[in-house]
Structure formats: structure tokens, C-alpha cells
């Protein structure tokens, strides 16, 4: 059973907004080490920031500590990110796009986050598994 191992970054963060910065630094370093460009690192980090900010800010019904797992894999011409949390069920693939043509006064103050995730990523799939949300993001690397 000989098989080339794909590079993997696995990190667990707490439900605390400053943790997103720690995760971003790890993703940046990982992307640099494995020859993925700054554009890929920025896209992945922006998508993670938007999703994790939602989860940490609105996802928990208690004020307790929770852990969120992030696994980033490189291979098959893509970066694949799996996010797993025990927040309330939330499927971002079902969120409607905001009206990007609305004038200033009609722009909703929120609601852009998931749109940005869609624009940054090439694929997003959601599963609810027991008490956990599992979101898989893919970004083509073109190599």
C-alpha cells in the first residue's frame, strides 16, 4: 500500500473571533510551503473568515466553549477545506444572494458574507451529520 500522501493542514480553533487570525496565519504559511500562490491563500482565508465569523457570532445557543475543526487538503488540482462544528444547523448553500445592484440606501448591512464565500470558492457542499455541521469547500488551483 504505497501512496503519495497529500499535504494536509489540520487545525482546531475555539469559538472566539481572534482565533480566525491564528487560523489565517497557519493557512498562509501552509500555502506558501506547498507552492500555492497568494491568491489561493487569500481566497481560502476570506472564505474561512466569513464562514467562521458567522458560526462564532450567531451559531451557538449557549455561551460556552466550542471547538471548530478545519482540515485543508491539497491534491487533484484543488484545495479542499472541511469545516466541522457543533453549532446549530446552518446550510450556507441555501442562503440567497444579496441584490448587488441595489443603491446605497437599499443595501442590507449584512448578508454579503456567504456571497463572498461563493465568489471565492469553486464548490461548496453541506451536510448535517448528527449534531454537527460539515461544510466542504473546494478551490481549483489550476495545477
Amino acid at each position: 500500500m504505497s501512496r503519495l500522501e497529500s499535504p494536509v493542514l489540520h487545525l482546531t480553533i475555539r469559538n472566539d473571533l481572534p482565533e480566525i487570525g491564528r487560523l489565517a496565519a497557519a493557512v498562509e504559511a501552509f500555502c506558501a510551503t506547498h507552492g500555492l500562490g497568494d491568491g489561493i491563500a487569500h481566497s481560502v482565508n476570506l472564505a474561512l473568515d466569513e464562514l467562521l465569523t458567522n458560526t462564532i457570532s450567531y451559531g451557538y445557543e449557549d455561551s460556552g466553549n466550542h471547538l471548530i475543526e478545519m482540515t485543508l487538503t491539497v491534491g487533484d488540482g484543488r484545495v479542499t477545506v472541511l469545516l466541522r462544528d457543533d453549532a446549530r444547523a446552518f446550510d450556507p448553500t441555501q442562503v440567497a444572494d444579496p441584490d448587488l445592484d441595489a443603491e446605497l440606501d437599499d443595501r442590507p448591512i449584512g448578508g454579503l458574507g456567504v456571497h463572498i464565500v461563493r465568489a471565492m470558492m469553486d464548490g461548496m457542499t453541506y451536510r448535517r451529520v448528527g449534531e454537527h455541521n460539515e461544510l466542504t469547500l473546494t478551490k481549483l488551483t489550476g495545477s
Binding site: 480566525i20 482565508n45 476570506l46 465569523t53 448591512i109 454579503l112 458574507g113 456571497h115 463572498i116 465568489a119
Partner: protein, 112 residues
């Protein structure tokens, strides 16, 4: 986060440094929105900014509304490629007066 505040040629210039995300957006909000209580035109210079998320866009949207309500002009300048991309995909580019750099913005705002 670090935010540089200057007054240049009668224009209030605010320059956030590094990242504007959900963690730091409030600091930008607290520095930026009170400027619309004054009379000087406002320039947010992104020259030293390499990252913005929707939390940062939210603050800029609030600023644009304050600008419209008070008549205090607002412009943006110095966007990096990453910041420009986020503005474009969010449909924000058309909501703001955006200049390539600080000098160009000051030349326009100074006449406002």
C-alpha cells in the same frame, strides 16, 4: 489594529493598517464614523491594507450613508488587488468614489 489619522490639505485621512476583519472592524467604525460629524472631506486610504472582509465592507457602507446624510464627502484610495477584488464581487465599487492613490484623491476632495 493600527489606524493612522492625519489631516492633509483640509482632508481628514484615515489609513487602516493590515487587516480589517470581524475582529478589527469595530475599531475602524469607531475611528471613521465620527468624522462625519465634522466638515472636512473624508478619505479612507487603503494603501497599507492588504485584507478586508464583509465586516469591513459593512463599516464602509455605514460611512457612505453618513456621508450622504451629512453632505461630508467620502472617497477611498490605494486599494490592493485583494481589496479591489472584494469590492468588485460585492458590487461595492459603484457605491464609492475610488481613486488610484492618495494624491489623486486629495486633488479631487480638496476641490469638493
Amino acid at each position: 489594529m493600527e489606524i493612522t489619522r492625519e489631516t492633509i490639505s483640509g482632508v481628514a485621512v484615515l489609513s487602516p493598517v493590515g487587516r480589517v476583519d470581524s475582529n478589527s472592524a469595530r475599531e475602524v467604525e469607531e475611528a471613521l464614523l465620527p468624522l462625519f460629524d465634522g466638515t472636512a472631506p473624508v478619505l479612507v486610504d487603503f494603501e497599507a491594507l492588504n485584507y478586508i472582509s464583509s465586516a469591513g465592507l459593512r463599516v464602509l457602507l455605514l460611512a457612505a450613508r453618513r456621508s450622504k446624510a451629512t453632505g461630508v464627502p467620502l472617497a477611498l484610495s490605494g486599494m490592493s488587488k485583494a481589496v479591489d477584488e472584494v469590492f468588485k464581487i460585492s458590487g461595492f465599487a459603484k457605491l464609492f468614489h475610488i481613486h488610484a492613490n492618495r494624491a489623486a484623491a486629495l486633488a479631487t476632495l480638496g476641490k469638493a
